[in-house]
């Protein structure tokens, strides 16, 4: 039973992270129908920025909580800046191009960013400091769940609640929903669509950076390639939940997290990544609209 709960919480933790990243995919897809292939790289850049900033602050001799409080915002700001810039360079000029052009551009951007970090930093794995403070309350359940798991799940839940509120209640959130419905209509009623798209990239990137910092500090190491796998898995989560749907991304993240944890925990750990890919393939073949998505109708 203890083993079951250990796996359950492991899945919940993974799932929360997948959900955080999946939101970026789903929001972008909802608005410009683009699979932002470089989104995983944003997550990786968020984690790298955090590593660098915390390293610098640590060298300055700041205490742990101060490092965490300063590292996370800087990582979020940088990831958002990257997301914003990528959109301007690689996607915006291709708004009216054939559908595959921005996707190819996105793949190129993803490869570019991976190698940018590889060249400017290192191809090796780097140890990531454990920024998350230990919680006494949790440590009593030692072995079943850890304090970093609790922090990750709670943070992810808070961030997602904040996002939901933002989209539901603010002016900008309404503009985002309107643009997702129909960019042309949104433009006609005076919404600045370019601005909405930029904002979508910024928010998505910020969420990915939060996910990146949390998971890196949980796992304890990063390299330039972590974004690829995390990106594909988060994309799987987004599709699983129904791409374009925000609650769908959260649900999809959790379902994927548990699937992976239970499959590796009870079936075989050799094929950890195969489960995610297989789930992705199956979902796209049998229910491309996902759990919460609506099937797309093509007008002729």
């Amino acid at each position: 039973m203890e083993y079951f709960f250990e796996i359950f919480f492991d899945g919940l933790t993974r799932g929360s992270i997948y959900a955080l990243i999946a939101l970026g995919y789903t929001m972008v897809y909802g608005i410009i129908q683009l699979i932002n292939f470089a989104h995983g790289e944003i997550y990786m850049i968020g984690a790298f920025t955090a590593l660098i900033v915390s390293g610098v602050l640590g060298a300055l001799g700041l205490p742990g909580y101060a490092i965490l409080l300063m590292t996370l915002p800087v990582a979020v700001i940088y990831a958002s800046a990257y997301g914003y810039t990528i959109e301007k360079i690689a996607y915006k000029p291709l708004r009216n191009a054939p559908r595959l052009s921005p996707l190819i551009s996105a793949i190129g951007m993803s490869i570019f960013l991976q190698n940018y970090v590889l060249l400017a930093q290192t191809p090796d794995f780097l140890p990531f400091p454990s920024l998350l403070p230990p919680l006494d309350v949790v440590d009593r359940f030692h072995g079943v769940l850890s304090s970093s798991e609790v922090i990750i799940v709670v943070t992810a839940a808070l961030v997602m609640a904040g996002l939901t509120a933002f989209i539901k209640f603010t002016r900008m959130g309404k503009a985002m929903r309107a643009t997702a419905q129909s960019p042309r209509m949104a433009m006609l009623v005076g919404i600045n669509v370019d601005q909405v798209i930029s904002l979508t990239f910024i928010i998505g990137s910020a969420l990915a950076a939060v996910g990146g910092v949390l998971i890196a500090s949980h796992v304890g190491q990063i390299n330039f390639y972590i974004g690829f796998l995390a990106g594909i898995k988060a994309f799987t989560a987004a599709v699983l939940g129904g791409i374009g749907s925000i609650p769908g991304a959260m649900l999809g993240g959790l379902v994927l997290g548990w699937t992976e944890s239970f499959a590796t925990g009870y079936v075989s750990s050799d094929y950890e990544d195969v489960f995610a890919f297989a789930l992705l393939v199956l979902i796209l073949i049998f229910r491309p609209a996902g759990i919460l998505g609506k099937p797309a109708i093509q007008k002729v």
């Binding site: 559908r99 190819i104 551009s105 793949i107 951007m109 490869i111 991976q114 594909i232 050799d270 297989a278």
Partner: protein, 426 residues
Amino acid sequence: MRDLKHSAITAAWFMFLTLPIMVIHVNTIEKTIAWRWENMAYVGAGAFVLSYVWRFLMRRRDGGGFRSLSPGAAGRGRLLRAAIEDRRISYPAAAAFAALVIAFPFLFSLYQVNIMISALIYVMLGLGLNIVVGLAGLLDLGFVAFYAIGAYAYALLNLHFGLGFWVVLPMAACLGAFAGILLGFPVLRLRGDYLAIVTLGFGEIIRLVLENWGTFTQGPSGISNIPRPGFFGMEFGLRGSIVFMYYVVIALVLLTIVVVSRLKYSRVGRAWMALREDEIACQAMGIDKTKTKLMAFSLGATWAAMAGVVFAAKTSFINPASFTFLESAMILSIVVLGGMGSTVGVILGAFILILLPEYLRAFAEYRMIVFGAVMVLFMVFRPQGLIRDRRLRRKFRPTELRGDADGDSGGATDKAAGMKAAGAHG
């Protein structure tokens, strides 16, 4: 003045953006920090200049539309085309080129020959993927899976049953075609971008299985001692076998070129292009979408599998690490750079992307970053690639004069078509 301000802002923005990753280097073991301020200066200067270039290219792109080149460039293109079409120039040039290709192994070192073989394998792969992506418009990100299937088919069949290159080559081709149909059947109903991701998923699954199914594939350590192709039991030395390999690959590339260009201008090839342009209109014209896509997908896979056999024979050692997603991305960028759909373009693309990093050693570590940049920049500024796919001009006779002579020859029709072409362009 506005341009200057714009470029200054861009430079400042990129200096900010690259500050942590390019300037600061934390040594996590010794807890030391290196500040590489010179990088910031490079980024600033580079971004300043590039922002001018970007705006210039953007203006040209949006102003003149995608297709209009500057008049000088168009003139040069026409001159080149005229040269190609004039037999007094093109025949000797082709003969000289053929002589160079044949003499290559004797003019250059073994090392060069090896590199050339690699490049030619990528030509095969590029042309194969070109059927799928360039002609049929199906973005296949798992192309490398079929490459791996071919390579492992040879390695394993040779290991367990001692089968030789020439026996396995056609077997692998069939296996590739079959795998293409098998994987293609469930996924080809999907919309373009989903198809891309699913094929990526398939590619990764195959690689992970190769890595983890140790009893069958020998896992990450791979399979070694794969023999090079023989020739009726003749024994070559090391040099001889590599030179022979070179000719084998040249022959296969020629075969690929012939097959791909014939397919391109056939009934099937036309259907692929139509499918790429407009799926709905295509169906309304009586084309079976699924069957046509499946044909493209499995033909592409056939070529990847054959290239895989050649690759295994060339390196004599394979492991799953040779078949990652990056390999698929590399082949895709060859197709994108060369020009989707254009055979000459893809050949050129393969040579540029594979040979350039080999010969410019200093440039080699920047290879992948350049691939990435090429994909973005070409999509933005030159989506047709280096060489725009040219449409074939047809020769026709009034319906009443229908005969059974070969349409490719016959002076009168040639002349008529020539006049037509000139008229359309004049």
